[in-house]
Symmetry: D2
Subunit: 263 residues, 4 copies
């Protein structure tokens, strides 16, 4: 393998700044919110509470990649507008997934952090496009991407000039069916040992089971993760999607407190 | 699961026409050519021989999705122009991979069949875009896509109005490392039993080993595949990419003859 | 890797003899019978028909390895006695799985071929024990064994002095859930290219779906397999175990006829 | 699924006692030692230091299951004798792997805890045999065993009357090759949530990389594990086997201290 910009000895450890929040620095970062942006009132209500409990960045999907074309595909542009309005009202940075090269430019008017989802980790056109920005990018690991492929996907972004890349381990596909995915915390320790990018963990998709989110959040931090991205809702059972893996804001608050003790 | 347009009982078996060639009909279809479009002279030379031996469609990559951003990414627009010139000179339909929604419209001026590669099977924006065409689409299975996800990816295209979808099994990612991928011929038999789309097999990527291409081509046809897409070159060892899995045109000719005997 | 007795250039291709049947020679071998030995009458009835249609060896489980300790574990010793009685009555060689080193010696009084099941491929004590015999051994691939591990498991047997080893590909464990396992026919072609052992395929466990057994049997032979081991029953729906993947004797007869055409 | 003895609501949480050590109780348990028993002097030296640093149980392989029959297979009986001598000299309980039903009875004279290795998790004859004892059993997860299969393997032991079962997560086989296995800590959290057996983690085999053992040990405990089994050596680079994943006793001491802080 040739030398990569992502390699540990290619430069200082990268710290990504989102407003006042630093990702990759000592303090662990919490990103949370519902799977999908549902409506303005719900979103305001969730965001207000999350901020109160110390969440650093609000997440919510405007464009939802779904296995079936007949499932809810997200509110799209309207979702972006709700995110922007909530950002201003609650004063919290927001993050959402972008899936199409043609949506990148416009999205910059609405959000602070762009997520590249698991399904688009190999979408090199999209990676090159967000590489031209300075906006922070959360790059989720492909559902069966090797660490090598994932790091090289990050390299596509860095090479275009954007160093603000945050890796996100979100579980890989294995034979095990009791959990939705197999959260690969080895990958977190491996990345921290060998590369200079910050890395966060998504225990919601990584387990698919609400009751595992708390212990696996702690395990992720113990393995060396710089933060967590967790699906939460004021009423998890009413989530439009991913209800099984969405936790209540009370549980999230417990996780945040336990993480402070770990640090 | 809800009823899909892809389901066997949603209509007649789909037969995709490319010039005089029918895919999904009795006669087995052979698509072949080099991994990447290299230069006009090589391409003309390959195409002329392939046509002579009965190959139905010429393949060659103009845009190459590569794990590393530092590897050869294909000739791009120039590759499309070579394909078009060869198509006219040799009188053979041509196929190439398109990876970006913004390239779809222009590609129609150059090629007869659009390939959606394994890395973009979950790129729903791209699937919807090619769903608006009538151009035949080869939809490769994602590297660890379930049959369910793959069929739903096809459904994204059909739902937009384009029924000309050809599935392509190209091997899945497993723990086995002696072969590049594990060719899943169960999936071929399963698709033929349950869905109305034609399906072809790519034994080149499916094995990654030149010496396995011949037996696995025969196995694919015996499992029920409607055709094959095989990487070949007049001088396999000189292929710019995928040399290990590229066969000579003589070997391809042997495969074509053996398949005629199977039918 | 060091040189193995299994390597192609360590000696002539191994042909295993069971009565008049040669495995690894030109003629394709068919082994069939019910998943479990149920009772004498059913077994006689199945064996008689199988022999009539050209089946070479009768299979039937006396000791059944089951995921749950509460599931039917086979008839044990009584099952061996039924197999022996049927062998003598119908004049057909019989094969069954042995799972315990302490059962090996006694089993020799009852059966002609010992199967080592997928769950015991790494049971090196058992491999060494059957290596001391001259009895033919069917060595199934472990559910997620690499080809390298599998060949080395065979090497454990050869090294003790027993060359009569028949490899059996029976599907590997992957993320795909529509089929019970993923039949890895690449492995068949790879083994035939690199090693001197005969190899057969089990399309029953390899697919888990009755309707896929026929096409995947043909695909196995086309990939180069020396034979097949197929679960069949006079009344598949009444099989004590594995009913979903058990075919009727009529379907088996169709498969046998189609394979003769392939040869 | 039917009701299991392993289910949480089938009885109190099981606490396994080995001398003064309780596994499954509040205090985290550390089992450590070299991959293979090498010689008496080395073993005494390692054991003395491990005891000093707070290790609860000494491990060391007498019978080594190896992929190749030509690799070192362990000292066998001599290894058991060394373990017994060290146990008496240093006054520390010892654990080793047993692979053959015929070795179970004799092993009881030498060791305190029997390990069932990953390769023998499906060896139901062996499970039933150790189920007849009262000796504590460490049951490693099969290399690609589902949680369901693993729990049922434990059930084979409990059903025979031996409740002293300690599950051990040691990494599963996936497509990732940068790490030897993928440590599945989801499984730890899942087991603690749903079953009443204690569970420990083996970060040595679970990562295969010495530098990942420390962070993954902490992650394991944070996920809820009751203890760890770690390969250590006074001179890791001189280990007869598994040198890449063996840590020094100093590193082990650091891990033990960090775990006390977590508790």
């Amino acid at each position: 393998m040739s030398k990569l910009l992502c390699d540990k000895d290619s430069g200082d450890a990268i710290i990504v700044k989102v407003g006042d929040t630093e990702i990759g620095s000592k303090k662990k970062v919490i990103i949370s919110g519902p799977c999908a942006v549902e409506d303005y009132d719900t979103m305001i209500s969730i965001a207000t509470q999350l901020k109160l409990y110390g969440v650093n960045i609000l997440r919510g999907g405007a464009f939802k990649p779904r296995t079936s074309p007949y499932d809810f595909q997200g509110l799209g542009k309207e979702g972006l507008e709700i995110l922007k309005a909530v950002r201003e009202e609650v004063n919290i940075p927001v993050s959402t997934e972008i899936m199409d090269t043609r949506d990148v430019e416009e999205a910059l008017n609405y959000i602070d952090v762009i997520q590249i989802g698991s399904r688009n980790m190999y979408n090199y056109s999209l990676l090159k496009e967000v590489g031209k920005l300075k906006t922070p990018i959360i790059l989720k690991r492909g559902i069966s991407a090797t660490i090598n492929e994932w790091i090289n996907a990050a390299e596509y972004i860095l090479r275009e000039g954007n160093e603000n890349v945050i890796l996100c381990e979100r579980g890989i596909r294995t034979f095990e069916t009791y959990t939705r995915n197999t959260l690969d915390l080895n990958a977190v320790a491996f990345v921290k040992t060998n590369y200079r990018l910050p890395i966060i963990v998504d225990p919601s998709h990584g387990t698919g089971l609400r009751e595992l989110v708390h212990p696996m959040s702690l395990a992720s931090i113990a393995a060396g993760a710089d933060g967590l991205i967790i699906e939460s809702h004021i009423n998890p059972d009413l989530s439009i999607s991913d209800a099984n893996q969405t936790i209540s804001i009370n549980t999230l608050s417990d996780i945040i407190n336990d993480i402070k003790r770990l640090n």
